[in-house]
């Protein structure tokens, strides 16, 4: 971008900025800034999304379709409450829901009853449901229109990769356990 572009634009707030600042930007500066934003956001978001998707795949969604229904419904209601998200700091909000969901995931390890496992999975699901809309808004707020497809592609690629990883995991698990029983096998 060069300074010419800035000047010929007519949006009010640009003029606001123009009035209050005499800052001139050089051509390479924007590119450098975008790279910096990428560096902070992309790996962080990518890993977060990978983790949120991983336990979805490793329990095996298709086998617990009934719970799925509850989860999606509650996640919808919860997402509506996310109006507040736009007013909080993402660096506080997202880790605050992610921490507890990690702890609950750990708790699954000591559970002996299948129904308790489902209950915990439900809690994780509710916590996770605040995650996606938050990420969408962050990407949407930092990048220009013509920069967004690449960033959303990175985001979705985490889901795709965790699917592949889930397949690998499921393959190695079923090779040790009768595949048709799935989780019921350890009930």
């Amino acid at each position: 971008m060069d300074t010419k572009d800035v000047k010929c634009h007519e949006a009010d707030y640009v003029e606001d900025y123009q009035d209050t600042t005499d800052v001139q930007f050089e051509a390479g500066e924007e590119k450098k800034l975008v790279r910096k934003i990428d560096l902070f956001l992309m790996p962080t978001i990518w890993l977060m999304y990978l983790m949120s998707y991983m336990d979805r795949t490793n329990i095996g969604n298709a086998k617990i379709a009934g719970m799925n229904e509850d989860l999606h419904l509650s996640s919808t209601q919860y997402s509506m409450a996310l109006v507040i998200f736009a007013k909080t700091r993402p660096s506080v909000f997202l880790p605050t829901i992610m921490g507890p969901w990690g702890i609950v995931t750990c708790c699954m390890a000591v559970i002996k009853d299948y129904n308790h496992l489902l209950a915990l999975r439900f809690v994780v699901g509710v916590l996770e449901s605040g995650f996606a809309p938050g990420i969408l808004l962050i990407i949407s707020s930092w990048y220009k229109r013509e920069e967004q497809s690449k960033r959303f592609a990175v985001y979705i690629s985490a889901a795709v990769l965790s699917g592949a990883f889930g397949g690998l995991l499921a393959g190695s698990i079923t090779s040790h356990l009768d595949g048709s029983h799935g989780l019921e096998g350890w009930r």
Binding site: E29, A62, S79, V160, G167, H176
Partner: protein
Amino acid sequence: VSGVCPPFPFLMLIRYRWLFIVEGAATVGWAICAHFLLLDFPSQTSKKFTERELLLANMRLAMDNNSPTTGTEGVRPKLSSVKALVRALSNWRTWIMVFGYMVIVGSSTLSYFYPTLVQGLGYKSTKAQYMVIPIYAVSFVTVVVSGIVMDRYHQFRGLAIAGWLSVSCVCCIAVCVVYNFTARYVLLIFMASGLWAANALGLSFASSTFADMEQETKGVALALVNALGNLAQIYGAYLFPKGDQPKYLLGFGVIAGMCGVGVMIYIAAHILLRRK
């Protein structure tokens, strides 16, 4: 069903235990890192950027008609939650993106059934699980390439999504009439790749369509797209009942139909939003 009998289910339990602990611990650990790495919104102060950088960040977005400056003192007053909700709900652009994304995510429930569908190839269940991996690998490449290309031609995102959904739609129809295992597997790969690519583009199309909304309104509109998209997954769980083996005409038929509807929605979106 693989021929290997479980040594004892108890061993299984131990395996899962480790999985949960490793996963949970990694999640907590990364949550802590994320607190320090994540950026807040451009309108908020940040120690990671100089004042000059933040100014540039806000300015380049303002030029793009994005509105990150909402909420900053002196620029525009904050919008109340109710007002933001009403504005998002009453904007037709929100709904066209919601319906479009619902179609994509609804069709993507297909991914839960990859192992089941791949079993039709004649692989035993263990092998079937591994045979799912190439589907994801091809999808991964498709998503990334399509994202890079469509930033270059960003004004044609709607048409690109329509294109990907057409690919998935045609593959779905073909799968209903072709019963050669290998051919079905290849069709399944194309189908999945098209849907994943459409998913990523659907988000970026929605996000850039909402670019000129106030920050609060945009937040609600994006949450709506995400939430209602998730809702569309509910009926998806019933698309491939065991009784439909091995052709699964119902499931593929419904997905083909949904993709067809999606093609129309996104072509309409392209036409309606073209002037913007």
